[in-house]
């Protein structure tokens, strides 16, 4: 079993801080790109790998736009805070698991929501 380190990437931290400080642009710059639990379970390389695998298995979800649309349920989060977005995503992650809306990527048992987040992350990293 390959050992994973639990280091938050500088890039992701930068993303989060940038979002906090600047505001409304969703694309490339929001909590959607930050799978909260998985960021604490694996490293940047692992997230990128998971994201790539998800995109390989789901051809319609190759772009940031398509992934953001799926994650936001089509709603406009551009004026929402990071906390609101994270709450939205947490609820979806939990619902995914409750409803068995699950994917297994490289052995990881993930919710579809966080797999999409990994996919987003892999597009910008």
């Amino acid at each position: 079993m390959q050992r994973r380190t639990f280091i938050k990437s500088t890039l992701v931290t930068t993303l989060a801080l940038t979002f906090q400080s600047c505001g409304p642009t969703l694309k490339g710059n929001s909590a959607f790109y930050y799978p909260e639990v998985m960021m604490n379970c694996t490293d940047e390389e692992g997230l990128v790998e998971l994201g790539k695998r998800y995109r390989e298995q789901h051809p319609p979800e190759q772009t940031e736009d398509s992934l953001l649309k799926a994650l936001s349920d089509g709603k406009d989060f551009s004026d929402e805070t990071k906390g609101t977005i994270q709450d939205h995503l947490s609820i979806h992650v939990r619902q995914d698991f409750l409803q068995k809306n699950i994917v297994i990527l490289d052995g990881w048992i993930l919710s579809v929501t966080e797999a999409r987040q990994c996919a987003l992350f892999s597009l910008i990293t």
Partner: protein
Amino acid sequence: MHTDARQIDNNSIIEGDVCIIGAGAAGISFALQWLNKPHKVLLLEGGGFEPEQAMQDLYKGKSTGQRYYPLHSSRLHFFGGTTGHWAGFCADFDPLDFKERSWVPNSGWPIERATLDPFYERAHKIIELGPYRYDLEYWQQQDPSRKHLPFDNDILWNKVWQFSPPTRFGTKYKDTIVNASNIHLYTYANATELVLDDNDHSIRHVVVKNLAGKTHTVRARYYILACCSIQNARLLLSSNTRAKHGIGNDHDQVGRYFMEHLEINSGDLFFKDEIKLPLYLWDPFVTRMRAEIAFTEQVQQREQLLNGTISLTPYTGQDPEVYIDTFSEDAIGRVKEWDEYEKKPNKRKPEDPDAFKHYNLFTRLEQSPNPNSRITLDTEKDAMGMPRVSLHWDLLALEKNTIRKMYHILGQQMGISGLGRVRVMEWLRDEKDDVWPPIVGGGWHHMGTTRMHNDPKKGVVDANCKVHGIDNLFAAGASCFSTAAAVNPTMTLIALTLRLSDHVSTRFTNDSAIDL
């Protein structure tokens, strides 16, 4: 009383009321129930008081099918038997283990789980366990730090294990047995053949031999086979002078349904924050209880799972050991290692465990009762002329699919909890792959080779562990198990043996009433 069967005259005739063949956990537990009773009990042990290479060599055999441990080192051939190297894990079977399950072919026992309760409690004393309590709430009251993971109770539960010190029967009970006036222990008395009476429905005597070249005859009213699952089957199959296919084997059931516990590293659990999990940890010879994650009866039924558990071990930087790769053929060396470890004065006391983010996940799973997983006789013979055995260890897709689903369920529950994520190992990832990896091992738990069933066409012993068709022959121990359950077998085989002992005692009482 003790006699070294190498030292008595050749062709001695040894007589008693009950003859117990084998002095391991089952044989000694049985004998202990007869202390100071008005019966002469013969306890036959093939080895001596210390493990010896020549005795272990008698246990050599072959294995085919799934890779298995060497047969001569996964069990011990001396007074005390395989308790000489067991780790002390004890838990009770679940009620579901005794029921017929539509998704588990050949499941179901002719007795219920509740039947064993009084015997489990008695077994506790023999293997030096704490109170007969396996409800988690009790243990959490004793130590509130033993918090469980927050899963849905309708899906996952926490199965409690207690740990025997572990009781080494050869050390703990040697003096008791040797000093008992009505228990006659014969060491170096290897049973090599059961001889039928002319009616073919009872045992007339047992032939015992040793490497000193002596042969003796042992006669008793009742005979108890208690020499471990492989040896019980071997003895029945080898006793084929009058019964062509072996005693109790009219329907080709002896030796079949060999079951193990599949024990295998299966995945990893990553918590988003460090967490202390004292409830789930095990420190050898220190921990007295712990829990493993188990699956409720309703989930097993709904998902068509075998019964199994998942245990957690902190990841400390090295991938976990694969026991079947590291298992030594040197049984005697391993016994010595355990002895030395147990004697260490600086063994740690239970202390506040460290917090970890990463835990290895280990599965223990019942093997499905499979008639093709079996013990047969080999053409090669041992030094006393007895045919050796061949084990064909046969695993099914049901077992692998169960493990896969278990981890999906655990992964789902971890996801719901928000605490972390599960990652399964590579050998579980392809849902179409039924092939077993070479890393799968067992717990050295040998079960089922003289399984219990009311129908002689489907089992070897009846609900009282009496061999079908033979009036005075019983099997004791895990060879009688109809299913393997998720847990280590020792406590249950002792409980079943105590029940058998009570039954045989009742037989004597009834015999006396008839004689009157």
